[in-house]
Each structure stands twice: as structure tokens, then as C-alpha cells.
Amino acid sequence: MTMRRSIERARKDEDFAEEIESHLAHEQDAQAARGVAPEEARRRARLRFGNPRTLRERVWRHSSLPWLDDGARDLRFALRSLARTPAFTVITLLVIAVGIGVNTAVFSVIDAVLLKPLTWPDPGALVQLVLNTDRGAFAGASIPEFALWSQQAGLFQQIAAYDFGAAGVNLTGGDHPEQVQAVHVTRDYFALFGAPVVAGRTFTAAEDSANGGRVVVLSYGLWKQRYGGNRGIIGTTIQLDGQPYLVVGVIGRNFVTDTPVDLWVPNQFDLNSHEMVVNYTVVARLGPGVTLAQANAQLRLVADQFRRAYGSHSLPPGGGFGVVPLQQFMVGDMRFPLLVPLGAVGFVLLIACGNVANLLLARASARRRELATRAALGAGRSQIIRQLLTESLVLALAGGLLGLFFGFFGVRLLLRINPGNIPRIRATGPSISLDPHILLFTLGVSVLTGVLFGLIPAIAASRPNLAATLNEGSSRSGTSFRQGKVRSILVISEVALALVLVIGAALLIRTFRKLGEVDPGFTTHNVLTMAMSVSGDRFQTTAPVAHLVRDGQDRLQAVPGVLAAGASNCLPLASGFGMVFDIVGRPKGNAPFTGGAGFYSISSGYFSSLGIPLVRGRVFTERDDASAPGVVVISQAMARQYWPNGDPLKERIQIGAGAGPAFAEPPRQVVGIVGDTRNRSVDRNPDPMMYIPLAQMPDGETALNAKVAPLYWIVRTRENPYAVLAPVEAALREASSDLAVAHIRSMDEVEARNIARQRFNMALLTIFGLSGLLMAAIGVYGVMSYSVQQRTQEMGVRMALGAQASNLRNMIIGQGMILALLGVAVGLAGAFWLTRFLAGFLFGVKAWDPMAFLLTPLLLCAVALLAVWIPARRATRVDPMTALRLE
């Protein structure tokens, strides 16, 4: 378009030139006809015509779009002038690009987790049913609770209970058995979440009732991958744990679950059950017009009803039912952790803006004479402003593009260090991409910065005070003092912000190192863990599970290279159960619970496989089986807490009283005390723990366990545990008659996952800290090197008057370092105030950790010194003669 236009215009101009020639010829003819000599005739013709060039220019301009042409000219000029100062251009581009890139990447992740509404239809009406206690809201629910909630007519449109499928099921019947994630759901689950059905249907009410038959709904992924997306699968049966299940439907690809799900089976609750085990998550869609407050009010009444029906101990004292918006519940404890990167990213953006402003201000004032000269030559004020704005816009947009690039890779980097427990980021196929809105936002911010800080010097420079500016010597300071002050303040702020960032990063780095030094109480090195799903009819009672565990443990210990092997229903740092207990003979408290403790069912080899030391008494042997008297081993923390003076080895405890019929069992004798382990996470003090032999579990508990947790195998090896993976798997396959293992991880990996959140925070803040540090250094460098350049003449005079090079250097360094030190002082104050918000993320380090608060300012000063050193050296190289002749 513009191209064609300019060609057209050139053609027209040529045409006009010809027309002028024709006119002149005619006029010459006319003059000649009056008898004027040819030479004179030509002269007169030209005289009468006027200046052809001016005319052509007038016509030329007439047939052009002024702003477009001027814009193109400004653009060309901007590119040329930016190319003339490559250092400035590259630094500014990098600053903008890093600012935008980091921002976009982090915002994209945060937005997907925190800000974006759930992808389910009308997510605002979705609520999580919770048990409110004085210790907070808990999401777990039992069948009787679900049954009572479901009866609340009008309160909920739909209500569904589901588990997390952690136990997994064995998909058999093909050429290779496979462990898959099966979630047990009640009928309304699919309607509630608006799950699209691509084939068949979801469960009917009959299928979700007790004795409803074996039916299954497949996920899109499993359907495609294992059954080739064949619609004929509907109405056929597949083998789950050796039992035939009728496939009734397939769910669409777009259905998002928090954790990956391969298939769904109906819960088939017995709604008259008195089973108080808290195994389910209950989510509901509020009825039309029902508010959160109304729902909560009604649920408080329901809690009273529940107490009346199941006894006063069925709910903790003061506890009641309630609802929490689902999204708030899901991202609830993510909100604060994500606010830290959000704050840090804001700091980086501020530093970037300050830097860009600084660089533009310096550039504009370095060009005052150039601009004044151009104004003197006839450039209009608006033309100069437009020209400078074009330059800043070119910078902002080019930097933005570069930032897009950085952001694209930044998102991938963030996903790589994603701890794996940020909700809604899935390990496979990240559902997060660069968000266009955020990109536009940050691009807008950078353009705004460019325009704003480009405009101020542009307006200042375009003031028609030409004579003063042109006559000004290069060493003047009066007129540029104000701008110099603005730039100094900008640099001080940058240094301060960077210091806060780096101190934050230093605190998190120290936290992470402290975490790594924590002894979890068990061996993590050369230990391999695997999960085996023991669901299905084969494992509904304790005996077959005990047999499997004993056989498997024997086979594992026979594998060459294996030092010890064991099994348990929980894995330290990965999963765990808690259980109530009473000490036999002690007066009961106000509840049936005398206490609560972590509760592991383990094999005889568990302690030795994890290297957990025996402190007193004995550990389990193979003789502690179902026929032997009940025994329990407790941890030191439990002994300390519940037997501060007595001897636990002389007492018996009753585990799980009041938790439901599945847990009914006779009291157990405490036979041993073992070392403490940090089972939940390494940054928490060891919980009190009790261990019972897997072989002594009540049958009902074994059956329940199989539904919610897999069996974990633990193998300690002489060398790299993965080296024995193949024989270990083979041994387990033989022992279990062909069950697969999944989630194969070394204990080191389990521990790494456990502190992945801290690593994520540390990595993020380190990135921010480093980019902030770099940008602050650029800021100091820019201001000082500009100042040196401006004062070249002054330096020359000083040297001519006998100043030593070292004096000059020290002067420059001193001036630069004053800025840096002021920034450090401000930053320290800010950090003292701000790091308290980090306190929740720190471990083993105080928020005012002296190391961080001493070393970081030193680091920053060192960097600033380096940034000042370069321009200072340049100042000493000034040749007095050249400098004096400069103007």
C-alpha cells in the first residue's frame, strides 16, 4: 500500500516535471513571438513561472499522507540513531526484554493457578464441603456425612463424593498388566463438573447403589492409548484387578482433573453405613439462588442433626459443617506462596522501568545540543518530540518482542522446576502457555515506560531555549542538575529494590541448604521405593496381603545387591495416615481419644530397609502375625509426649476406638521404641508415630486401605538402587502373581519432591535477585559513565591543573559508591520490613538472618564498585589537551 503509493507519487512528480517543461516552452514561444531573443525569452519564462522545485515539493506533499511519511522517516531516523549508539541500544533492549520476559513467564503461571477461573461450567457455584474446627477447615468426609448432606433438599443442585484414586488398580487382561489411576465417584460427579461424554453414558443411579454391578467410565487418554479410540469398547468388559467391568462411557479430552485419572468407577455407597472413615472429598454445586452464607447456616444445623444421630463424639467439640468456594479451597494455600514471586516480579519490573527511564533520560540530555541544533534548523517542536518518542517506542517494542522470546522459554523453565504439587499444572502436557492478555499487559507497561520517560526529556529538550543550549559549554551543570538528581534517585531506588530481592533470594537459598542438611531420621541414599496396587477381591482380607508381603520381602532380600527390604502402607515424605489411640487403664479425656499419632502398617523389614534405629525393646519379626498377640512399636516422640515419666513398654494401647467397625481390634502391647522420623516433611518436627505389623491389621481396615492406598515396597541396596530395578520388579511380579509396580522412585527423589516447593521458591527468587542485581549494576554503570562523559572537559581542566589520575578515579568511584551506598541503606531498611513476609517460607534461618543481611550488601557494593570502576578508569584516560579542545 505505502509502496504502491510512493511509486505512484514518484510517477506523478515526473509527470509534473514534464508539465512544467511544457509550460516553460510555451511561455518561451510566447516571449519569442514578441521578438525577445531566445536566451532572454527563457530567462523571462522562468522568472514568470517561479521556482519549479518549490512547486514540485508542494505538489509532492499534497499527494502524501503526512503522518505516515513522517512516521516512516522518524522510524528510519530512529533506527539510524539507535544503531549509532549500539551499547545504549543493546543494554536498553536487554533490560526491557528481561523485565517483560520474567514478568510474562511468572504471571502466566500465576494466572493459570490463581487468577483464571476454573474451567468447569459456572465454577462460582461449586463448593467444597468441609469440617470446620478450631484448627481450620478439613476437606475429608465419611459416608454418613455425605448421606446426610445429600438429603438437604434445595441446598445443592448436585453433590458428589470421590476419592483421589491414590491406591491405583491393576488393569489386566491384555498382554501387559498395567497400574492405572481409578477414582471412585458418586453418580452426580460428571454432571457436577460438566464432564463431556464422547461415547456411551455415565453411571445410572442403580449402578451407583450398593450391588450396582461392576461398571467403569474411561478417560479420553486411556481410551485412545489402550483401546485405540474404538467406540466399540462401549458395552464390552475390561479386567480390573482380575474382575470384569462393563465399560459404559468415555469422557472427553477437555475434562480437567487435578490429578491425572485413567478411569472412574462408582462408589456404590451403602448410605446406611456407620463407617466413620474420612476417605472422601465432597464437592457440590449450590442450588439456584443459594448463597454461601445460606448454605453455611443450614450446614451448621445439619452438624447438630449429625451429632444427634451418631453421638456427641462423631464430630470434634466445636466442629461443624460448612462450604468453601472450590477454587478458593483448591488454590487456598497456594495464594500466599505465589504472592512471593508476584511481589518479586513487581520489583524486577520496577527496576527495569527505572533503568529504562534512566537510560532514556541520560540519552536525551546527552543529545540536548543535537536537538537544539535541529530546532534551530527549523524542526518544529512536535517534530522533535515525535522523533524522540519514535525512538523510545522502537526500543520498547523491540525489547517487548525479545521479552516475548524470553517469556516463552521462561514458562518452560518454570514448568521444569515446577515442584509438581502446584495444582492445575500437570506433570504431563502442561496446561499453561504464554497468556496473551498478560503479554499485552506487560508490553503495555513497557511501552508506557518508553513513552512516559521518553516524553519528559523530549518535552524538556524541545523547549525553544535554543541560544542558551547551543552556547552552553559541555561542562555546564546548572541546567542538567535537575535531571541528574532524578537519575540519581532512580539509581538509588534500583539498588534498594535489588538489595531487597537479593536478600530474599539469599534467605531462601539458605533455607534450602538447611533443609538439605536435615536428617529425616531414615536413610534416603540407595533406597528404592515402589507402589503396588493391592485393590480387588484378592486382597479384601489381611491374610493374603500378609502372605504377599512376606513372600515379596523374602524374594527381594534374595536379590543380589539388596541389603534390606520391607513394605508398608505409607511412604515417609510422600503419604501418611493418622489414627486415634487410648492408653489402656488411663482415664479417658473429654473425647474417646486420648491422643493421635501417625499410623503405619509395616512389614518386619521396614525399619531395617529405611535404617530407622531401634532405641528400646524390639522390632517386629515374622512371628508377629495374625495368630500372635497384638503388638505396636512407637516412636521416641510418641514416648516423650504420652509417657513423659512412665515406661511405655509396660503398657498397652487401644488403637482406632470410635473410628468405625472396620478398626475394631483388641488392645496392643507396646514392644519397642524406634527413632523419630520426619514423615510429613523435612521442615516439620517429627510427629509421634505408631507402627503395627501389616499381618495384624483388622480385615476391614485392610479392605479400606486397599481402596485408598497402594502397598509400598522399600529396598535398600549396596549401590545405585536403579541397577537392581529389573530383578526387583521380577521378584515382586512373581510374589504377587503378575502385579505391576508404579511410581518407582529412589528415596532421594521422594525427598527432593518433598522440598520441591522450597526449591521452586529459591530458584524463582534467585532468578529475580540476579536479574535485579544485573539491572541495578547497569543503572549505576549508566549514570556514572554518562557523568564521566559529560565531565570530560572538567577532567581535562583538573588534570591540566595537576590532579593525579588516581585522584580523578577515586572521585568518580566515590560519587558512584555514594549512590550505591544510599541505595543499600534504603534497601536494608526495606528488606528488614519486607522479609517478615518471607518468614513462613524459611526454615532454620531467621527473617533477619545476619549472613544474608551482611553478605548481600557487600555483594551489591562489589557489583556497584565494578560498575563504577569502568567509567572511573575511562575518566583517568582523558587527555587534557583533547578534553580542553573538545568544545
Binding site: M1, R5, D15, F16, E18, E19, I20, S22, H23, A25, H26, E27, D29, A30, R48, F49, G50, N51, P52, L55, R58, V59, H62, S63, L65
Partner: protein, 116 residues
């Protein structure tokens, strides 16, 4: 893309030149030099201007669609660009003449009243 600029109502002189050009072309197509000559002569040389300044006006009128142009051969046997009035130009001439007459009449009235 043709730029459409509104006729500058305030610019009386320019508008007048436009009108004069259009008036000249009532007699038939003419090239630039002829138009300049005609305007000079018929105004008894009162409106003598730089001849060149005629051309931006010609081009402007052509842009507005009041004139059309084509290259031809002049009476001197030279190549010349001939301008011809379009129907749109004819309408504009009528309108402009009307405006002019109304204005001069108004001015005459005022001037006449003062002298009497």
C-alpha cells in the same frame, strides 16, 4: 487511496483561483499555459501571479474530480497536458459563481451604502 480534503471555505483567494480556472475551462479543454494566459488577459493583467502557482491548484482540482487531464499536442506543436472540466466541476463552478455573486453583492451593498 485518494485523499479527500474538504474545500477550505475560509480560503477565499484560493477558492477564487479555483473558480477562475473552472470558468476558463467552460470554453473547452486547455493546457496550463493557456489557462494562465487567459486568466491574465481577461482580468486585464490585474491578477498577475507567478504562473507556476497555477499548477498546485490544477492538481488539487483534478484530485477532487472537478477536472480531468490528458497529454496532447498543443497549437505550437508541443507536448502539453490538457485539462478538461468534468460534470462535477461544472456543478462546482455554478455553485462557486453563485457564492461569489452573493458575496460581492453583499459587499457592494455595504460599500454603496457608505459612499452615499
Amino acid at each position: 487511496m485518494v485523499l479527500k480534503r474538504p474545500p477550505e471555505a475560509g480560503d477565499v483567494l484560493q477558492g477564487t483561483l479555483d473558480m477562475l480556472i473552472l470558468r476558463t475551462l467552460v470554453m473547452g479543454p486547455a493546457h496550463g499555459h493557456t489557462i494562465a494566459q487567459v486568466i491574465e488577459h481577461t482580468s486585464e493583467n490585474a491578477l498577475e501571479v507567478e504562473q507556476g502557482s497555477l499548477y498546485p491548484a490544477l492538481h488539487r482540482l483534478e484530485d477532487r474530480g472537478w477536472l480531468a487531464s490528458e497529454w496532447g499536442v498543443s497549437e505550437n506543436n508541443r507536448k502539453a497536458k490538457y485539462y478538461r472540466m468534468t460534470p462535477k466541476g461544472r456543478k462546482e463552478l455554478a455553485a462557486a459563481t453563485g457564492r461569489w455573486r452573493r458575496m460581492t453583492r453583499a459587499i457592494d451593498l455595504i460599500l454603496g451604502a457608505e459612499t452615499e
